[in-house]
């Protein structure tokens, strides 16, 4: 199971090369990768349907009990098929949509990166592995949403999505770790068997809350729904992929995956069903108020995600069935709609429903795809959406909590969505041609292939659900329930109460559709109210963080170098001094007799320090400081640290050279600070000296010498072939630390060079970067 994920990551790395080699056909070539993976997964349908699951597990962090474990069961398989299948179509589409765009290689790479992360997420069987892939989807979706990075709107939307889902990701990590603690295992497929113990545990509720926080932010559930509409700043193929089958469904996947372990309790029912219901209604109301087709679709996606959450929350046999059917149908019609609307935008130059009309003759194939998908979204027979809607109506009768609220909310919600679907299906294609800016004609094959295929699939599944949909849905529903679940689907279940509700819903939807123009005006105040929603809270929080950062920068880093020193030394003395005073017991210090040489060096250093303070010219100060530095080196030499002494000498020499280069550019030494400040600085400097002296004394007087010295002394030659213990520690025993340190040094040097050159070019001197 690791191989498919790795193949996608490799394709991501190679995509720019493929683009260079194959040019305009790169989208098709790259689509072969997820396409073949789709075929591979499709071949596993039959064994998985008969109850088989494929596992694979590699050591990862054995010390922490974390494995790179993968498992393919019905639920994973359904998602894997959607991720690879729709992924392939979207790559083909993207190649046509962004034809000639220089950013196309980046699009392919980011898309495949996301695909790999998403596939890993749905295949992972270890909580930590799942979390890592979860975060990778957040990172890659940041790149995709911010694809038009030159537009501020896109950057902001990408950042908002990253912050919201990233914060949720942290909560999820905490929740998963709690869950692992309670269950004693991080293996997801082993959690279900422990559900009794987990749900009886005192940590169950906090763990549930944290996991739900992760799932709700990812799947844009109320009140975290606000990032999703903003994410529409992404190009159409990205929206089609992220918001139909993948990114936002990750939260739903997680809920379904953990349903056997966490589901079925009162807390689960209340939290999940209420959040889902709120999202369902919010999304539907906001969708109805839109005129931009893409934003309209985004809000209907919210509504659909709410529906899915509700169904997972009910967690009965019927609702599991309904959830998986709805998941499949939504992925198909929503991807087709986003892609179709993208094609309309591409060909007609606008997505505004008020400006479009009469495109059916010019764009018959796109029209077929969009109309068929929109009718599926509205829940009209004979489309697959109708089957899903019937199941939803039946399943919600079983809601153990908040049932009445749900019945009303879902009825209103689906009516509004049906009206919105009407807008998408009818307005752009029929009625009067309103003469859009561009002369519209049928999109190229790359742009209609995906939508037509997906829409066609929706029709086929609607006509023959038992034959085509059951093999997909039944294993998924079984996996979600943690036990075998029979699924029977019929194109039409007869005159049931659910069917009556469907008819009423469609009638109300029709009325709402007819009243849309008038309703838009009425909805204006509502939209102003929505501006005060959670998005406002997010903006406020961000502004607060920035203000806090600015304030503390003003206080701590005010641009005066002396102040920086004061802050740094003061903090060190305060914290270190506190620890020294409270943690270290005073011990008698046995001072050994001082030799003449040592005394002479010490005196020279003291004299040097005094000279630095009293110096009237910079050159004298630098020279005097050099005396102190060389004195330190001599001390190292005297006390048997030739390595340190050598380094200290070299550093001192280089510092003098540095000073010589800088000196000429500095102003003459002058006393600028008032007496009080100089006294304060003197006191702080003295405190720093006393602190370091005390620290050294405390360290050398420690009663138990650490065993490290003896160990390294003995092991240096035996294990690492070197007699110079200091060097052996640096390059061998702690070589990894050194690697990190030289990397930090290199980065710091880059910063210094960049700043110096920046100054040079800003001052009009020297060369620019």
């Amino acid at each position: 199971m690791l191989t498919p994920v790795l193949i996608l990551f490799m394709a991501c790395a190679l995509a720019p090369l493929v683009h260079r080699a194959t040019g305009r056909r790169a989208g098709v070539f790259l689509a072969l990768v997820p396409g073949l993976l789709f075929a591979h997964f499709a071949r596993l349908l039959e064994p998985v349907a008969s109850g088989q699951a494929y596992g694979e597990s590699l050591e990862w962090l054995p010390g922490l009990g974390i494995r790179l474990a993968f498992r393919l069961d019905g639920l994973s398989l359904l998602f894997a098929l959607l991720v690879t299948g729709i992924g392939a179509l979207v790559l083909v589409y993207g190649g046509g949509y962004l034809k000639g765009d220089p950013r196309l290689p980046r699009f392919y790479s980011a898309m495949l990166f996301f695909m790999a992360a998403m596939l890993g997420l749905v295949l992972a069987d270890d909580a930590i592995a799942l979390f890592v892939f979860w975060e990778l989807t957040s990172v890659s979706s940041y790149l995709l949403i911010g694809f038009d990075h030159e537009q501020e709107k896109a950057r902001k939307a990408a950042l908002q999505a990253l912050f919201v889902t990233g914060a949720g990701g942290l909560a999820l990590l905490a929740g998963l770790l709690l869950l692992g603690e309670v269950a004693g295992t991080l293996q997801l497929s082993a959690l279900g068997a422990q559900s009794g113990a987990i749900q009886a545990h005192a940590l169950y509720f906090p763990a549930l809350l944290l996991v739900l926080l992760g799932a709700f932010t990812k799947s844009a559930q109320f009140p975290f729904h606000f990032w999703l509409p903003g994410a529409m700043a992404a190009p159409s193929p990205v929206s089609a992929y992220l918001h139909s089958a993948t990114m936002v469904k990750a939260g739903i996947y997680l809920l379904a995956r953990l349903n056997p372990a966490l589901g079925g309790t009162d807390a689960w029912h209340y939290l999940v069903i209420l959040a889902g219901t709120a999202t369902l209604v919010t999304g539907a109301v906001l969708a109805y108020g839109q005129t931009d087709l893409k934003r309209l679709l985004a809000f209907t996606t919210l509504s659909a995600l709410g529906t899915l959450t509700v169904l997972v929350g009910i967690s009965t046999e019927l609702s599991a069935r309904a959830a998986m059917v709805f998941l499949l149908v939504h992925a198909l019609y929503k991807a087709a709609l986003f892609l179709g609307v993208g094609a309309i935008d591409h060909e007609a130059g606008t997505r505004d429903v008020r400006l479009l009309g009469g495109l059916a003759r010019a764009m018959p194939l796109t029209a077929f795809a969009v109309v068929a998908s929109a009718l599926s979204m509205a829940g009209l027979p004979p489309f697959f959406g109708f089957v899903a809607k019937e199941l939803f109506y039946e399943a919600k009768q079983e809601a153990p909590r908040a049932g009445d609220l749900l019945v009303v909310a879902s009825f209103v919600g689906s009516s509004l969505v049906a009206a919105a679907a009407g807008l998408v299906a009818w307005r752009p294609f029929f009625g009067r041609d309103r003469g859009t800016t561009k002369h519209a004609h049928e999109a190229p094959p790359a742009l209609w292939l995906g939508p037509v295929l997906l829409a066609g699939l929706g029709v086929a599944l609607g006509l023959l659900p038992d034959l085509l949909a059951v093999p997909l849905v039944q294993p998924a529903a079984s996996a979600m329930r943690g036990e075998h679940t029979d699924v029977v689907l019929r194109p039409w279940a007869g005159m049931s109460p659910a069917f009556v509700q469907s008819l009423l819903m469609l009638a109300l939807g029709g009325v709402l559709y007819a009243a849309h123009d008038r309703a838009l005006l009425r909805l204006e105040p509502l939209r102003r109210l929505a501006a005060w929603g959670p998005d406002r809270a997010y903006q406020g929080l961000m502004a607060g963080i920035v203000a806090l950062a600015k304030t503390q920068t003003r206080v701590l880093q005010n641009g005066v170098l002396g102040w920086y020193l004061l802050v740094t030394i003061g903090t060190t003395v305060a914290l270190g001094g506190y620890a020294l005073a409270t943690r270290v017991r005073p011990v008698p210090i046995g001072l050994e007799p001082v030799t003449l040489g040592e005394a002479a060096v010490a005196l020279a250093m003291v004299a040097g320090a005094v000279a630095v303070v009293r110096a009237q010219s910079l050159l004298v100060a630098v020279a005097a400081l050099g005396v102190v530095g060389y004195g330190v080196a001599v001390v190292f030499l005297l006390f048997g640290g030739p390595d340190l002494a050598l380094t200290q000498f070299a550093i001192e020499t280089l510092s003098v050279l540095l000073f010589v280069l800088v000196l000429r550019r500095l102003p003459r030494l002058r006393v600028l600070s008032p007496r009080s400040e100089r006294i304060r600085d003197g006191v702080m400097a003295g405190a720093g000296g006393v602190f370091v002296a005390a620290l050294v004394l405390a360290a050398t007087a420690a009663p138990h010498p650490t065993p490290l010295r003896d160990y390294f002394g003995a092991a240096s030659l035996a294990l690492a072939n070197g007699r110079n213990v200091v060097n052996v520690i640096l390059v061998d025993f702690r070589g990894f630390d050194t690697l990190g340190e030289i990397t930090v040094l290199a980065v710091a040097a880059l910063g210094v060079v960049a700043l110096l050159r920046l100054r040079a070019s800003a001052g009009g001197r020297g060369e620019a970067l």
């Binding site: 050279l657 550019r665 072939n721 007699r723 052996v728 030289i742 290199a746 060079v753 110096l756």
Partner: protein, 137 residues
């Protein structure tokens, strides 16, 4: 800085210092020395040229951009840990030649790592010094 004394002194000192820096680097595993100090000494040698002969001469002597040295050093240090992976051992496990080479002594992957440190330190110091010298009016 135009000083005949500094210039003629530099001419004698620089080759010796560069040689000494390599000596420090190679001997570092057994005697005082190592990549860090070696890099500093080499940088000091080039810095002397910079002071006495100017930036152009110093750059000519170094031949490559100091930041390229930094990158090369990081790469060497990073790569020195890879060979043990091929044998299934942890990254950066020390590998040593059985037979000591003449002059240099025993050679192993930690010594190569130290070469990386040497290059990084040399490159960093010179990058900063050159940038400062460039800024001179």
């Amino acid at each position: 800085m135009d000083s005949p004394i500094l210039r003629s002194g530099t001419r004698f000192l620089v080759p010796l210092m560069l040689l000494f820096s390599l000596f420090l680097l190679v001997r570092g595993h057994n005697e005082p020395g190592g990549g860090f100090v070696g890099g500093l000494v080499a940088a000091t040698a080039i810095a002397l040229v910079l002071l006495s002969e100017g930036l152009g001469e110093a750059r000519r002597l170094l031949r490559v951009d100091p930041l390229a040295l930094v990158a090369a050093g990081l790469l060497v240090a990073l790569a020195s840990g890879i060979p043990p992976l091929l044998r299934g051992w942890p990254y950066m496990t020390g590998l040593w030649l059985k037979v000591p080479l003449p002059v240099v002594g025993k050679v192993g992957s930690p010594v190569i790592f130290d070469v990386g440190v040497y290059l990084v330190v040399l490159g960093i110091v010179l990058a900063i010094l050159f940038a400062l010298a460039e800024e001179e009016p």
